[in-house]
């Protein structure tokens, strides 16, 4: 039975979902999700999965979709592209999910994409930023996360907020599609704004000792280093940058936040900047504060790591998107959900979610245009730039 009051209290601006609730009850509608729950980028994957779990709970409390509860089936891709493919195949073939959410890293998402074509199952991409995910001609892909180019373009608009201004930049990126893509797009966007481009260093996703990279970067005369990697390596890099006396402004890209540095802050005088897509410290500044506050309150009620909210919203928004597509489709079937995804137009934690077409004509993927904000972290405290 639909509980309208609960739904409204939840802050979900989706009255249409409520109208169709309790229409039938054929058992739960399954949503498949694959995330890196273990391995090099496990922190981020767990946060995204947690966000998805609370979205499912919130929706189910409001009566589910078409009167049926949602069931999230979560598979660990172990921060490994081969495992990502195996996880997706297991979700589609054994669990019979009609729609997927995944897979955090661009490398994992790209490895799954041929399977979407093969099994004709749509996937909502919640995090991955590599350009070719939506330009390679896969009509089963719908991305709510920004591409690196979008993120770089949004950052360029905020350049005036940095004092002293950014004049020359270097890069330290994880050596995969995510890192290389960010380096390329930020070089292009900021180079176009008259900023000089310096060194570009890389690291493997498993690397823990970054002293060689940092010593090399220290030799550059750049004033700012752009860091693109997961939460764990962000934390390691920021700590080791203090050791190596890097002496440069550090900006992280990709929407991850090194939350461990809130409880274990860097020594005074060391600040870092983080490009985020949701700043949980300031839910009132989100495009739709009521939705952001509901999400934040649900998360905090679970007692989860507060800073995980910065990434957890991806899972939350992805589930809202999928639920709305299922409602619009009127049935839990892959092709119908794919067609319905083009008609999704909802409010999420990050802002509006609706898809525009990208890629070759006739085989377009869906791409959302998310919002971006910059957080300054110093001595365990955050402020919005």
């Amino acid at each position: 039975m639909l509980n309208r009051r609960t739904a409204l209290l939840s802050g979900l601006a989706m009255p249409a979902l409520l109208r169709t609730a309790s229409a039938q009850s054929d058992g739960p509608i399954r949503i498949g999700m694959t995330q890196p729950l273990t391995g090099a980028v496990a922190a981020s994957g767990n946060y995204v999965a947690n966000g998805a779990k609370i979205a499912v709970e919130v929706l189910n409390r409001a009566g589910g979709v078409m009167g049926r509860p949602l069931e999230l089936i979560l598979e660990d891709n172990k921060s490994n592209p081969r495992e990502a493919v195996a996880a997706a195949e297991k979700l589609v073939l054994r669990d019979r999910v009609p729609v997927l959410i995944g897979a955090w890293s661009s490398t994992f998402t790209l490895s799954i994409m041929p399977k979407l074509l093969e099994y004709r199952v749509p996937m909502v991409v919640e995090t991955s930023s590599a350009e070719r995910i939506t330009t390679s001609g896969n009509p089963w892909v719908f991305r709510i996360a920004p591409t690196s180019a979008m993120e770089a373009a949004a950052f360029r608009e905020l350049l005036g907020k940095f004092d002293p201004p950014i004049r020359r930049i270097d890069f330290l990126s994880v050596n995969n599609d995510f890192g290389r893509g960010a380096t390329e797009k930020f070089s292009a966007a900021l180079g176009g704004a008259g900023i000089a481009i310096g060194r570009s260093e890389t690291m493997t996703p498993e690397a823990t000792d970054l002293s060689a990279q940092l010593t090399a970067l220290k030799q550059s005369d750049g004033d700012t280093v752009f860091l693109t990697t997961g939460v764990e390596q962000q934390t390691l890099m920021l700590r080791q940058a203090v050791e190596q006396r890097l002496g440069k402004r550090i900006v992280t890209t990709g929407g991850s936040f090194p939350d461990a540095l809130l409880a274990n802050p860097l020594p005074p005088g060391n600040a870092s900047f983080h490009i985020l897509f949701y700043a949980p410290w300031f839910p009132e500044r989100a495009p739709y504060p009521q939705i952001a506050e509901t999400y934040t309150a649900e998360w905090n009620r679970k007692g989860w790591e507060f800073a995980g909210l910065t990434e957890g919203f991806r899972g939350y928004d992805a589930v809202l998107t999928v639920a709305e597509a299922i409602r619009l489709a009127g049935r839990a079937e892959g092709e119908a959900i794919r067609e319905a995804l083009w008609r999704v137009d909802i409010h999420g934690v990050n802002g509006d979610i609706r898809f525009v077409k990208e890629g070759p004509a006739g085989r377009e993927s869906g791409q959302n245009r998310p919002n971006v904000s910059i957080i300054r972290l110093a001595e365990g405290r955050t402020s919005l730039l």
């Binding site: 273990t38 060689a212 409880a263 020594p267």
Partner: protein, 290 residues
């Protein structure tokens, strides 16, 4: 020049812990002819133990390091007694399969017990670096290097100056002859596996607070430990120490001056070169076969 000095310091610090890892692995191979695939997981075990003792139980940091190494040794002894001793007469393939299985069980137990998210271990050392001219290094890293060197020295004294060490070296050279001379080879095997495991756990306990602690942290480290012992010569103890420092320097200077993209590859490139030129390893004397 400043950059080279910084790389030298970084390589030395890294090499010290690599040497610790290599010694433990090569000791077990030398004495028992067992390829210990659980070595990386024992390293992770040591790191998790120090996290649990310091962060969850609030035990003193230095005492926690000691306890983590001892718990690692106890786990090693248990592996030897429960898994390896029943396989003493088994062929090397069976032993290798069992050890691979044990490594998988250990890693998955860590994932199950601790979750996949990496943990930070607090240490009593200052978060600001010590600076000498152009060189900077964290006090914690200096501590790690000093402890690693002390452990290496202590281990050498154990092998060279004690009856237990003599028994180990005798078993190392010829297990049957040692048994005929009254050496209790079964006990030596258990002690050897425990000490090798303890060294791996000590390396993990020392490096956990430097980096972060995660269930898969042993994967790359296990691979590097094998690289170190191959560099130094399988079963060669001084070779493992030299191989550890060699790997630390090649990674640091290769990453700094050639390309950080291939930093981890430089060590393996060096192995290919060493195997092509000196198949017995950097230090081990050439062996006659047949």
């Amino acid at each position: 020049m400043d950059q080279a000095l910084q790389h030298l310091v970084n390589g030395t610090v890294l090499g010290g812990t690599y040497a610790l890892l290599g010694i433990g692995l090569t000791l077990i191979f030398g004495v028992m002819r067992v390829v210990n695939f659980t070595h990386g997981e024992l390293y992770a075990f040591g790191a998790y133990m120090v996290y649990a003792l310091v962060s969850l139980l609030g035990i003193n940091f230095y005492l926690s390091l000691l306890l983590a190494a001892l718990l690692g040794a106890a786990l090693g002894a248990a592996i030897e007694l429960l898994l390896l001793r029943p396989l003493r007469r088994a062929d090397i393939d069976s032993v290798m399969l069992v050890m691979i299985g044990a490594a998988l069980v250990l890693q998955n137990a860590e994932m199950w017990g601790w979750g996949g998210v990496a943990k930070l271990v607090p240490s009593p050392f200052a978060g600001t670096p010590l600076v000498v001219g152009p060189i900077s290094v964290m006090p914690l890293r200096i501590f790690v290097l000093l402890v690693a060197c002390a452990l290496l020295l202590g281990f050498w004294l154990l092998l060279d100056r004690t009856r237990a060490g003599t028994a180990m070296r005798a078993t190392f050279q010829d297990a049957e002859a040692a048994a005929l001379m009254g050496v209790r080879v079964g006990w030596v095997n258990t002690a050897t596996f425990a000490i090798g495991s303890g060294l791996a756990a000590a390396a993990g306990a020392l490096l956990g607070p430097v980096f972060m602690v995660s269930p898969t942290m042993g994967d790359l480290v296990g691979l590097k430990a094998f690289a170190i012992v191959i560099l130094g010569g399988l079963g060669n103890l001084p070779g493992a120490a030299i191989g550890g420092f060699a790997l630390g320097y090649i990674e640091e200077f290769g990453g700094g001056y050639v390309s950080t993209e291939y930093r981890d590859a430089f060590g393996f490139l060096l192995i290919i070169l060493v195997l092509a030129i000196r198949p017995q390893g950097l230090v081990a004397p050439r062996e006659r076969v047949g």
